[in-house]
Amino acid sequence: MENNNRKAWLYLLPAGIFLAVFMIYPLIDVFIYSIEEGFNFASQTSQGTGLFNFSYILHDPYFLQAVRNTALCVVITVPISTGLSLLIAFGLSSIKPLRNLFQTIYFLPYVTNTLAVGLVFMILFKKTAYTDGMVNLLLQAFGSPTVDFIDGPYWAKMMVLCIYVIWIVMPFKILILTSALASVDQNYYNAAKVDGTRGWRIFWRITLPMISPTVFYLIITGFIGAFKEYSDAVALFGTDLNAAKMNTIVGYIYDMLYGNGGGYPSYASAAAILLFFIILTITVINLLVSRRHVYY
């Protein structure tokens, strides 16, 4: 037994070393950076330790803007994308003809490059000297005033970002939900049918509880993904997100490290630590809620 234990540790060692060097050490390092005040990257010296970095970023309007943007994005995109995916997956599993075709179409955004999708959104939404963008043309057709979605009012930009995020995360969710729906034993539906159960009742009382583990998995990963939102905002609004007032927390961290010459690893680390705790809290809440509603 003792011998076996030693062997087990030996086998785990390669993975352990990699984890230690590339995960655990940097994590500790980030934490140390975040409490070192006035850290100078070039000389590797600091003026002391404390919580000044946290205080600084919490008073930084750019950070607060980033937090607000991220939170809005999370609150809007996660429920809508999950709900829509559920609807589409349910629809897909109820039809027989053309199911594969639709499945492929819905999956396309997943295999498309973010920046390419950004270009498509530009064509849809951006106002240029030559055209107002397709969405604006549509709006005009209905007689409503045009809006500059990319360089215009905040709500318009936020809307475009949310649509973009929802659109890009849905394929994966649809894929997972379709397979979850397919794995529900047909006998449950037969039993419900013999008992004369109506469609909605079947969905709420049988289908949804049966796939609840998958739904909660998607909600939790959806939250985490949305909190780490960055590249989509860049694809839409360019790299100077602060100027566009569309920065996100991850974008803020990146800017602190590299943007405009960068060189503020302490602030970046403090922001990263804050983001970590926000995600941790939300995930714990999610898990607590799911424990009450998931039956497996």
């Binding site: 419900a192 013999v194 004369g196």
Partner: protein, 411 residues
């Protein structure tokens, strides 16, 4: 509720041009009297589950009609037929408690049938106490044993007071002991409720033990319908004879000549005693206790049914020797030093009440001949051979090509 099935046929289309369509059920005709327990019996793939699903309404027949009493329900959707279905894997909703599971069908009722929560609860409790699970109402299916889950499934099927109860392999997921217990239980519940019940099984013992009537099916075709004992004593063809009975019937390659049944060159039986064997009730076989009168009745019924077609008269006239299959029930042998059937002895299995003698014979179809002999008669295990005489009524002759029975059951 009387259930009538007329010319029921189900064809499944083939997959593509080269794959022919499958005829799962072929021209099934049957009338189930009200309040009976009927077992659909057959090997897997014989169409018995398809038949059940058509009666239930989950499958639409290709041809034919299904009637409940006089009402044609062929095109009625399952929920309006008033059937209860117990699934092979029970299909209990894992996220609901036992009580919620049993109440679920009641929650579907609408309009004038709508029940209050209290009524639903009391109906569920009633159904639960019928199957004796009243103490488990707050558990989830995962926390129940297989047998308990089975009962919940039956309670859920019974709670809406169905006109017909259908069960798909109700016992196949239970272990051997529980199976015995549960089949008695199913019989009791069926008797208590008086609901016409149809169940599907591939286990002949299960079907024989609890059914009022069994329907033996193979390859979508009904082979024989009758009371379990009658079907056993009077199988219409080789398939039915082989399918019923444990140990199974012993089949030999033999021939029929001048009213005599030959296995190899030895003459094992002479077809002369048309009257039922008066000694049929005397031996201590598995169906001991069956009176001579009953035996006479069933033999008489067989004669009336088969009439001239299979009468021994026709056989007697056949001068030449016809090759046939000879089937002898395991309990149809008795030891006789001078017996015509000489088998080489392989061993003896003691079962207590009786012994199973394992032997071989060159004309035998299969591995070993298994015969059941009264424990008292004693087999000399030092010998290398065992000689048998055959009991009348336990030997059957089947046509080589069609498997149809030519002689047997006291004809």
């Amino acid at each position: 509720m009387k259930v009538t099935i007329e010319n029921l046929t189900k064809k499944f289309p083939g997959r593509g041009r080269k794959d022919p369509e499958t005829i799962a059920v072929n021209d099934f005709d049957f009338e189930i009297p009200s309040g009976e327990l009927v077992g659909l019996l057959g090997p897997s793939g014989c169409g018995k589950s398809t038949t059940l699903l058509m009666i239930c309404g989950l499958l639409q027949p290709t041809e034919g009609r299904i009637l409940f009493d006089e009402e044609d329900v062929t095109n009625v959707p399952p929920e309006e037929r008033g059937v209860g279905l117990v699934f092979q894997n029970y299909a209990l909703y894992p996220h609901m408690t036992v009580e919620e599971n049993i109440m679920f069908p009641l929650g579907n009722l609408r309009g004038k049938d709508k029940l209050s929560k209290e009524e639903m609860r009391s109906r569920a409790r009633q159904a639960a106490s019928l199957v004796q699970i009243d103490t488990l109402l707050d558990r989830r299916p995962k926390e129940l044993s297989g047998g308990q889950q089975q009962r919940v499934a039956i309670a859920r099927a019974l709670v809406k007071m169905p006109r017909v109860l259908l069960m798909d392999e109700p016992l196949s997921n239970l272990d051997a002991r529980l199976r015995l217990q549960t089949r008695v239980e199913i019989r009791r519940i069926q008797r208590e409720t008086g609901i016409t019940t149809i169940f599907v099984t591939h286990d002949q013992e299960e079907a024989m033990s609890i059914s009022d009537t069994i329907v033996v099916m193979e390859a979508g075709v009904v082979q024989q319908i009758g009371r379990p004992q009658d079907v056993y004593d009077d199988p219409h063809n080789l398939f039915v004879a082989k399918f019923l009975g444990t140990p199974p019937i012993n089949v030999f390659e033999g021939s029929l000549k001048d009213g005599k049944i030959l296995i190899g060159d030895s003459e094992v039986f002479e077809i002369k005693d048309l009257a039922p064997d008066p000694a049929a009730h005397l031996y201590e076989g598995p169906d001991a206790g069956r009176t001579a009168k009953q035996a006479e009745e069933s033999a008489g019924a067989a004669l009336r049914r088969d009439g001239v077609k299979k009468g021994p008269g026709r056989l007697a006239k056949d001068a030449g020797s016809i090759p046939v299959w000879v089937g002898i029930r395991p309990e149809g042998f008795f030891l006789d030093e001078e017996g015509p059937l000489v088998c080489s002895l392989k061993g003896v299995e003691v079962m207590g009440r009786d012994v199973t003698v394992v032997s071989t014979h060159p004309a035998f179809q299969g591995e070993t001949i298994r015969t059941i002999i009264d424990a008292q008669s004693g087999v000399d295990t030092t010998k290398s051979e065992v000689r048998y005489r055959v009991r009348p009524g336990k030997i059957f002759v089947f046509a080589k090509d069609s498997g149809e029975r030519l002689y047997g059951a006291g004809e």
